[in-house]
Symmetry: C2
Subunit: 226 residues, 2 copies
């Protein structure tokens, strides 16, 4: 069975498959949790930015293409080798802000509130892509500056899921669910936004404040509750 | 009625008293929430330290006494004018770490995990005072250094309450309750530790990661759930 997995298969996915296999081989009825089509992965998104190709070229040079260095769990998404310096409203900076690829058609910075407060930003909680009227900032790269008129947000906690997962949990795109994180500092996130797409793998995204509030570790048991 | 309050009366306490008065004056039965003996105040504790008199003198000079500058909600507790520099395991520092008074019989630093990670600390979640085996650190003040052998913790989220509150909620000292924080980024803290004492006013304490995760503001509705 080990051959089915590579090093990047998240523990929650392996456990889900093992659980399902064990129940089947023992001839036992599957408990509801083991009937889920996919294991739930919860990942903490540290602060990062999404850039347009135009911004990449302003920051890193004409014709520059992002360099993938680490695949993320969602298909096609990656952490790039490139990082930028973010200059906030009071000239405070965050250096080494990671760029995620591939390029998008809008520029967006995702910070936790702790990051935003330390920079002096007053930012709203938004879904990715919904940046109208949000604060802007200056970015600096090795080739120069790029001014974002808007796009600095705290991302709303959310869960990506395939339509099969949505059917299992009985939810639709943009519904809200709860994410219960067990353990010593157990926390339930009561307004997790559901995002459904054919291309999505089941994965909840929380930010560093949320991940640190609940002390999330690789073996922390997490569940989605409608 | 305004004369009954000073500027330091928390909004939640004023609202609780108004709610109770309105129901009574309208001759309506009190809903359960209005029957609570006290309004629930939720405060975010930013990183801080508690020091012994010995540590205060090492850091600020022989015979030095802490200078109260702001009363905290619990009777007798205050933020002091004094602040120290904390030096972590990789020589990273946090300056202006606030000292809370009065002096205690042990030294304790309370950090959020975001603070601890940025300093390179691996700290456990503990109740205040339970510091055996926790990491130590160096502190620096205007008069010199002070070495703490242990005492750097992330404080477990907790709620202070008077025995009257404990009776109302049906809980005892060291029980666990839930703290539900409503709003856009609603979060339920599932393991809030109950601390009961005759001297305590009803107040939940969460750290900056927890406060930022739920976007707590002065008008956020919060409730305790057994």
């Amino acid at each position: 069975m080990a051959g089915s997995f590579n090093q990047q298969t998240p523990r929650a996915v392996v456990e889900h498959l093992v659980r399902e296999r064990v129940y089947r081989e023992m001839g036992l009825p599957l408990p509801r949790q083991a009937k889920a089509p996919n294991g739930l992965v919860v990942n903490v998104s540290a602060r990062h930015c999404h850039l347009t190709q135009e911004a990449v070229e302003a920051l890193f040079g004409p014709g520059h293409q992002l360099t993938p260095v680490k695949d993320l769990y969602q298909h096609g998404a990656y952490a790039a080798a490139e990082a930028v310096t973010l200059i906030g409203p009071r000239s405070r900076v965050i250096s080494n802000l990671r760029v995620l690829g591939p390029c998008r058609d809008l520029n967006q910075i995702e910070l936790a509130y702790t990051d935003a407060i330390s920079l002096g930003f007053d930012i709203p909680t938004r879904m990715s892509g919904d940046v109208a009227g949000t604060p802007g900032c200056m970015l600096m790269g090795p080739n120069g500056y790029f001014k974002m008129e808007e796009g600095v947000i705290r991302a709303a906690p959310h869960v990506h899921m395939h339509p099969d997962d949505a059917a299992y949990y009985g939810v639709s795109h943009m519904d809200k669910m709860k994410l219960k994180v067990h353990g010593e500092c157990g926390v339930t996130f009561d307004n997790l936004v559901v995002r459904v797409d054919e291309s999505f793998k089941l994965e909840a995204h929380i930010d560093t404040d949320e991940g640190n509030a609940c002390g999330l570790k690789p073996d922390t048991f997490c569940e989605l509750i409608k």
